[in-house]
Symmetry: C2
Subunit: 340 residues, 2 copies
């Protein structure tokens, strides 16, 4: 037998209103006597209110939507960029009584389906691009926190026109420049760039890092050479070209690990004294052999911050900063050697 607020009210000999008041911590509206009685019955039946009914009337739900963008219909959850954010969110959401609905967004159409369905209190969108941002911005009115979403500067310069849109980013340009600088400081002047394939024309995480890399080179008076820019498909080519560079900046730890393994297999890592620096500092970075020198991006923290912002927004009491940029932290381990 289903137990509803009505049943509780009947059994306690009070009105549903009183029960509702007790549930919703408006206990001061109920006499202590009745309050205790109601609580006893609630406990007896292990009752907790139906969230659908509650959401229906309140137009709010304690439900957070976590939207991951990926072109592939299948999200790669072994990617720490994906899961660390989730970890951060859950750690804040659970104690605050929020539930997290995870959804993979691969097209604009997916977005339309989402909000209207579930009356989210807020959305956290990870890795969106400009097109998707615009789509979701105009079709949904709930607060949205964007993580690692790189947009045209026009948006960032005009944040006030985007109320209820919040951003948590790494300054990818700075962070890539930081990595490049570290290589430079270690006397490396011929630095390759290795990343997943990307479109130079569109603002994206990788594209920003690429810019940072070029900038750092330029600042040092060094020429950028497009011949030493590689994608994850070009390990063979990198092997053949290895005399063209003494160090490489890799845009992700995982990719760096693959690359190093490949070079080791071909006697071209330790033997030629190749230096490697990457970005992320995933849990496995320090288990690599040699342990990865990398820049910690702290995705977990981003998740926590996003959830904290949403919680404040729901409470509606505090001001919430629209833009939060997290610094990267250089983690020196063993893959970068001073060049002799």
């Amino acid at each position: 037998m289903k137990v509803t607020i009505k049943k509780i009210a009947e059994e306690a000999g009070v009105s549903v209103t009183s029960v509702s008041n007790v549930i919703n911590n408006k206990a001061h509206r109920v006499s202590k006597e009745k309050r205790e009685q109601i609580n006893a019955i609630i406990k007896k039946y292990n009752y907790s209110p139906n969230m659908n009914a509650r959401a229906l009337v309140q137009s709010s739900s304690r439900l957070i939507g976590l939207l991951y963008y990926s072109q592939k219909p299948r999200l790669d959850f072994s990617d720490p960029f994906v899961t660390d954010v989730l970890e951060g969110i859950e750690s804040i959401a659970k104690p605050k009584g929020f539930f997290t609905l995870v959804h993979n967004v691969s097209s604009a159409k997916d977005i339309a389906d989402i909000q209207k369905n579930w009356k989210f209190d807020g959305l956290i969108a990870v890795g969106f691009n400009q097109a998707l941002f615009e789509k979701i911005h105009e079709s949904l009115s709930v607060p949205i926190v964007f993580i690692d979403t790189h947009l045209d500067q026009a948006v960032y310069h005009n944040l006030t026109s985007y109320p209820d849109r919040y951003f948590i980013n790494t300054n990818d340009r700075v962070v890539a420049a930081m990595a490049t600088d570290f290589l430079l400081e270690n006397q490396h002047e011929e630095i390759a760039f290795l990343s997943y394939d990307f479109d130079e024309g569109e603002t994206s995480v990788i594209q920003q890092r690429f810019l940072g890399y070029k900038l750092a080179l330029e600042k040092r008076g060094l020429a950028f050479r497009s011949e030493v820019v590689y994608t994850d498909e070009e390990f063979e080519k990198m092997l053949a070209d290895h005399k063209q560079y003494t160090a490489v900046l890799v845009t992700a730890d995982y990719l760096a690990m693959q690359f190093i393994q490949f070079m080791k297999k071909n006697q071209a890592f330790r033997e030629i004294g190749l230096s490697v620096i990457s970005l992320d500092d995933i849990k496995y970075a320090q288990l690599n052999d040699p342990p990865l020198t990398t820049i910690r991006l702290d995705q977990v923290r981003k998740g926590e911050l996003a959830m904290e912002k949403i919680e404040k927004l729901v409470k509606g009491e505090e001001e919430v900063e629209q833009m939060t940029v997290l610094p990267g932290q250089l983690i020196i381990r063993e893959t970068v050697q001073k060049r002799k």
Copy 2:
């Protein structure tokens, strides 16, 4: 302005019933003429029904709850046991129109809060123990698929008494024996066992693997030696004891990677020709140096299977098998050497 079914009905000049019928693919109850008109308006407003209202009346929701057990309030999402399951679930759930709510369960109390809240169509519970199983079994009536949940044999021998409870497991005993056997075949007779801390008295994943390890030894006529059973806190001890064993069975790739790194650091891995086999085959296993010999458990597949079961259950058409046991697959790479 909010667009509801009522608004659509008004604008189309029909009743809400007709609109409802169109939405729910009972289109045959509506004349073609009206149907087209309604569809046009729906499209115009990009309307989609409020799931809360729908769930309220139907007591069903297209919502799946994914419950992870962990003692810690904070779930470790970098654990592939956690995320691979999620990946499998989402890959099936999304195309079928299900949404996945992720929740971390660390106590019996968490369970009570859950079901009543959201009217799940089904639950997927990962890594539960006997106590939690019983708690959730008696308090919830929706279908539940348990993944990697080890229970007293009494339950498994009497599955018919547990309708709507489904199980997807690895036979951890078999899989651990398989790993041990592989070591044995390679002439190792002194085999250590390394795992996270566990309670020998309670049925659990690790406890089952421990049993499998002992069984395999026994079958070979080898004595089990409790001195070579270690936890993740005892790397130092393992180093000191290294003459006591020539190979080690580790219950998780991640732990194996940590152990190997530790031993390498102390010149006690390659130098003493230690062999290691572990379980999981996470994505990083092959990037280890040397690449890990391990047993693939395929957690992604488990997630897919769980979601498939639930989908069938919701449709209510097909019979669903209550117990599915997935085999492990030996992946031979480079951490096991034939003993000389």
